[in-house]
Symmetry: none
Subunit: 208 residues, 4 copies
DNA sequence: AATGAATGAGAATTCATTCAT
DNA sequence: TATGAATGAATTCTCATTCAT
């Protein structure tokens, strides 16, 4: 699926608004206004508000897949280094596409739309398969322990990162970091999160 | 604040529906029907749909506070044992009040309503202060390491647990556990999560 | 089903507008304006525009049934006299409720709404059964011929009357009666139609 | 007016859809799709949806006129035979062009569009003049009675035939002919209608 | 001659809330 | 205290038509 400029503008505007106000809290009017397109264009291009959401999921899902596929094939790296690379990339991704991950965080709680649920499941499966490959590679080489609960590990990575991104506003106050600028603060928590997750993973994967 | 039976019925119905369909996806008609009260009662008792949500947060926040205060004062237990108790209780709580935690997970992403945001912040602060007390106690006794990133630890506990609860539907499929009944599956993931978090915390708090 | 004043006002307004402009050609806005009620009342009372149409059919169908039941039980009249009475009444009805019969004429051509189709069929069945009763009575007494095609007879009565009512505008010009006032013209065609149908029926029922 | 292939395709598609769903119930999108032409072609060729309807009326009106003119000049036939021929032809026409007659039946009830009304009136006048010619011929020859209500006679022919065609769906059920195939049923009612109308006309025109 | 893209107007419906009782 | 009736505002979506190409 290739999208033209207007379609991309609509998708971006919608993503940002869905992240801020939720799907139901966002009207197609808002989206049209933000994307600076005619109201009717949204139905014209996507059919409905729901279909627009699906298009966003499909689009981002495809992007994520392409990105992750690159990571796994990194040459000349140990399994643990690759896991660390994965953490780096996952954190990069989640911070770069905060809007989309907010939408994802919100929508995965609901199961109103089976098409969206299917897309989310597909995305998660792709992620999981990639990580599983990495872990198994490390286990074969003897780098990692045998019994590793991969789904729970993923849950920790995604859960922690998601929670941090979606509630960073609260985190800032709880850590008394109100003095930092938004950029400084973001840099700070990215670094913290990175170390934190790598620590946890190293422990889970290698400590006896 | 003391609520009468009808008010509690409304709050429970609303909580369940907000968890399922989101705040904006739920109409006061739905709530009135589910709670078997007159449509106008909701405005009458709570003023508005938003105020109803606030009441739910306030109510649940108070319940959580009371519960957690009990935990910290558990006599004759090491700091690590108390931390483990805390994990037990947090997991109990999140599974028992899944509806509320779904609402919380959804609403913390948005910052539309400053009153709600303030309530969430207050709740988080209370939690954090409790854990901080525990950790400092352990540090004083020499049980725990000096440099512990408490907010990040909390983020992992809440993020992982939240993520698991809100996306358990996907977890079931990703782990090929479709054959388990809902109850069996829930028991299974509670146990896994419990071990998983305790492991992580032990490592964070004690390993050098 | 008992309707309150506002509901009746809506139904009357809708009937008139549907007759003039067709169902799809009439907006709920038009109806609300004509009935002098709030726009949302229509959804509130009837659920939707379609359901409103159904309500009209049901209401009129019931009225027709009640009326016709009276005719058949007219005491001390020959079968032919009763048939003539029926013609009188049918013509009265069709002229008095021209709006409804226009709607009926339009909607019976379409089969979009199965509920409406079912209501129309029911109405027609009731009519047919009544006439069949009359004819059979006359046949038993030896007043009428044996082989009478009752559905075709009804088709002629209804078709002719309907066609006249719905296209009286054209009839006026074709008969060069433009000089007559609307009332005079209507009186004129009612009389003509009455004689015409009675003639045809007498011939069908009695001539060998 | 000569139409090219695409124009004819549009008109045919439109006629069929107008017959099924009514004028307002049919969108130009539907027509374009059914006719397999570009959406904008309809405005391009006909100017508007209304003008397209007018074109259909004009086109069919012309066809009817040409056909009927042939009938009247049938050589070596009595006036009654010619009337019978006319009935044959009218029934043929109405069954062959059911779609158009459904549109006609629906639209003659409305008077929204004066151009359409004018076209219908013209069509009816042409028909009427033809029949009047026939009847007067028969009256001159002494075959027919003097006082014949020609407009009412036409009303019966058209009303009965129209009503049968537009409500044949109901007629089938009312006559308990559900077991017949669509073709058999149509053959059956055409025959019935033919005899029925000829009977009525014979009686009107010749009986004293 | 033909069309894909675009749009303003208007459609039906749902919503949270109010108010007289 | 409780509620049925009512409503204004806002919702999503579809429509016939236009226009640059």
């Amino acid at each position: 699926m290739v999208y033209n400029e207007k379609q991309l503008a609509i998708m971006e505007a919608a993503e940002a608004l869905f992240a801020e106000q939720g799907f139901n809290g966002t009207s197609v009017r808002d989206i049209a206004e933000k994307a600076a397109v005619n109201l009717a264009m949204i139905s014209y291009y996507f059919g409905s508000k729901e279909k627009l959401l699906e298009a966003i999921f499909e689009y981002r899902g495809e992007m994520i897949k392409v990105k992750l596929e690159g990571i796994i094939q990194h040459p000349g790296a140990t399994a643990l280094e690759k896991v660390n690379l994965l953490v780096d990339h996952y954190i990069d991704k989640i911070f770069l596409q905060q809007a989309f991950h907010r939408v994802l965080a919100r929508e995965q709680v609901l199961h109103n739309n089976p098409d969206i649920s299917a897309l989310i499941l597909k995305m998660k499966k792709t992620n999981q398969e990639l990580i599983a490959k990495l872990i198994h590679e490390g286990q074969k080489k003897g780098e990692f322990k045998k019994n590793v609960d991969i789904p729970m590990m993923m849950t920790t990575m995604m859960g922690t990162a998601n929670f941090l991104v979606t509630s960073k506003h609260y985190y800032k106050e709880l850590s008394n970091l109100q003095s930092l600028s938004e950029d400084e603060f973001e840099k700070h928590i990215r670094k913290k999160l990175n170390q934190h997750l790598k620590n946890i993973f190293k422990n889970i994967l290698t400590n006896e």
